[in-house]
Amino acid sequence: MLSTKQKLGWAIVTVLVLIYALFPVLSILMTSFKSPADLSSGKFLPSQFVTDNYEQIFVGDAKDLFLPALWNSIGISLIATFIAVVLATLCAYAIARLDFPGKRIVLTTALMVSMFPVISIVTPLFNLWRQVGLYDTWLGLIIPYLSLTLPISIWTLAAFFQQIPWDLERAAQVDGASTWQAFRKVIVPLTAPGVFTTAIIAFFIAWNDFVYGIGLTSTSAARPVPAALAFFTGASQFEDPAGAISAAAIIVTIPVVLLVLAFQRQIVSGLTQGAVKG
C-alpha cells in the first residue's frame, strides 16, 4: 500500500501534468467566452461568460467563413483517412503475412515519405493543380493528404498485424468454419481494433493539416478550418477576430478531445507500437 506521503506526491505530480496538458486549451476556452469589450481585459477569466462568439461563427457574420470550412475539414479528412486506411490495410497485411521481395522497400518508402517536407510538395502541386483544375477542390487536398496519412497508417498497421495470431484462421477452418465465416468471426474481430486505432491517428494528422490547406485552396470551396482560421482576420467585418477564432478553435478541438477520452488506451498503443521496438 502507498503511504499518505506517496499518495500526496502522486496527487501533486498528476495535477502538474494536467495543468501542462490542459492549460492552453483552458486558456483559449476562456477567450472564447469573452465579450468583445472583455477581450482586452488582461484577465484569464471572462468577467462575464457570453456565447456571442459561438453565435457569430454559427449564425452570425463569421458563419460563411466557418461553416463551409468545418464541412470541408470533416469531409476531406474523413475521405483521406478512409482511403489511406483501406490501402494501408492491404499493404500491411501483405507485409505482415506474405513473403515478397521489396517488403523493406515499401516500409522504407513509407518512412521517407513521412519525413518529406510538406512545403516541398506544395509548391509543385500548386502549379500543377492550377493547370489540371484541382486547385481549390476537395480532391486537390485529398490526394496530397494521402502523403500524410498513408505512411503512418502502413507502419502502425504492419506493427499491429505482426502481433495477430493468424493461425486461428486455419484453426477455425479445421473446426468446420467456411472461409467467409473464418474471416468474419476470427479475422475481422482480431484486426478491427488495429484498423480502427490507425484510422483515429490518421484522422488526427489530416485534421491538423495547415500547409496544404492554405497553399492549395483560395475560397470556401475547399479551405479547411485551420487555414480558414488564419483568414478570419482579413475577411471578416468585426474588429478583433480573437473571440470568433477562439470559439472556432474550441469547436474543432471537441472531436479530438472526445476521441482521446474514448480511445486513450488504443491510441497510446497504436502510437508506440508503430514506432519503437528497441
Binding site: A21, L22, L87, F116, I121, N127, A242, V256
Partner: protein
C-alpha cells in the same frame, strides 16, 4: 527475399525436383499477391512525393514567375546562386536550426520526465495521465498557436498582467515585436504540442528496460538518479535516438506556429515560410522551387546522418520477427 533462399537451401538433397517447382510456383504466387496488395499504397506514396520533388527540381532550373509566364528562361543553377548569396536565406536557416535544436533538447528532457511519470504512475492515475497527455498530441497545431498567441498578445493576453513583477515584463511588453521573445513563444507552442509524442515513444522504450536491472542496482545501493543515468537511459538509447531523429525532422519543417504568430516577421522566419512566401506568396516558382529543393536536401541530410553516422535503425521495427 531471405525466405526464398532459405527454402531452397534448407534441405536441398531431400526435395524431389517436382516438389521444388511446386514450391517455387507457390512462392511466385505469394510474391504476386504481395505486390498486388502493397502496390497501390506504394505507387500512391511515390506519386504524391516523388513526382512533386522531381517537378520542383526541374522548375528550380528556370527563372519562372507565374505573373510573367512568357518569360520562362533556363538559368541552370542560377536560382540556387541567388538563394545562397541572399543573407535572408542564411538567417532563416539559422532560425530553423535554432528552433530544431532548442525544441528537441527541451522536448527530450520534458518528454523523458513525462514518460517516467507515466511509467511509474500508480494505477489510479495512469489512465488519467495518458488521456491528458494525448490532448496536446491531438490538437490542431494552428489552435495551439492561437492559444499561446492570445495568452501572450499585448491586447488579448493576460500573461503580462500575471508576471508584471518580473523585470522587463509589464502591460506594455509586446512579445511579438522582437526576435527573442517571439521565438520563445513559438517554440513553447511547438514544444507543448509535440512533447506528448516524444514521451510516448520514450515510454515504450522505458517499458523494454528489464525491471530487474534497475531493481538490482537499487539493491546495490544506487540512488534514483544513478539508476536513471547509469542503468535506464543507456538501455533505452535506441528509443531515444529514434525519438530525437523523428522530432528533429519534424521541427526542421516548422511552419504553422510561425505563420500564425508572426508571419515570419521580426527575424522569426524559418525556411518553410521562406519557400512558401517565395513560391505561393510572390509566385516566383523557380526561386521557390529552389528553396523547396534545398529544404528537402537538408531533411534528407539529417535523416542520412542519423542513419549512417549514428546508426539509428529507424526502419528496425518493421522487420519481421
Amino acid at each position: 527475399m531471405s525466405t526464398t533462399v532459405d527454402s531452397s537451401t534448407r534441405a536441398p538433397g531431400t526435395q524431389a525436383p517436382k516438389a521444388k517447382r511446386q514450391i517455387s510456383d507457390r512462392v511466385r504466387a505469394e510474391r504476386k499477391l504481395g505486390w498486388l496488395l502493397a502496390g497501390p499504397a506504394f505507387i500512391i506514396m511515390l506519386l504524391v512525393t516523388l513526382y512533386p520533388i522531381v517537378q520542383a527540381l526541374y522548375d528550380s532550373l528556370f527563372s519562372f514567375r507565374l505573373t510573367a509566364p512568357g518569360d520562362k528562361e533556363f538559368v541552370f543553377l542560377g536560382n540556387y546562386a541567388t538563394v545562397f548569396s541572399d543573407s535572408l536565406f542564411w538567417q532563416n536557416l539559422g532560425v530553423t536550426l535554432l528552433i530544431t535544436v532548442v525544441t528537441v533538447l527541451v522536448e527530450l528532457v520534458l518528454g523523458l520526465a513525462l514518460a517516467l511519470v507515466m511509467h511509474s504512475a500508480i494505477k489510479a492515475t495512469r489512465g488519467l495521465l495518458r488521456t491528458a497527455i494525448l490532448v496536446p498530441y491531438g490538437i490542431i497545431t494552428v489552435v495551439s498557436a492561437f492559444a499561446w498567441f492570445y495568452a501572450f498578445d499585448i491586447t488579448t493576453g493576460y500573461v503580462n498582467n500575471w508576471f508584471d513583477w518580473v523585470p522587463g515584463i509589464g502591460p506594455d511588453f509586446n512579445w511579438f515585436a522582437s526576435q527573442g521573445p517571439a521565438l520563445t513563444i513559438i517554440m513553447a507552442s511547438e514544444i507543448w504540442k509535440t512533447t506528448p509524442f516524444i514521451s510516448l515513444l520514450l515510454l515504450s522504450g522505458l517499458a523494454q528496460v528489464p525491471g530487474e536491472l534497475s531493481e538490482a542496482a537499487r539493491v546495490d545501493g544506487a540512488s534514483a538518479w544513478q539508476r536513471l543515468t547509469k542503468v535506464i537511459l543507456p538501455n533505452m538509447k535506441a528509443a531515444i535516438m529514434v525519438a530525437v531523429v523523428f522530432r528533429a525532422l519534424d521541427a526542421f519543417r516548422i511552419f504553422d506556429n510561425i505563420f500564425i504568430m508572426t508571419q515570419g516577421q521580426y527575424g522569426t522566419e524559418a525556411l518553410s515560410l521562406l519557400a512558401y512566401r517565395t513560391s505561393i506568396g510572390r509566385l516566383e516558382i523557380g526561386l521557390g522551387s529552389a528553396i523547396s529543393v534545398i529544404l528537402f536536401l537538408c531533411v534528407m541530410l539529417i535523416a542520412f546522418t542519423a542513419i549512417k553516422v549514428f546508426k539509428v535503425d529507424l526502419a528496425g521495427s518493421g522487420k519481421g520477427r
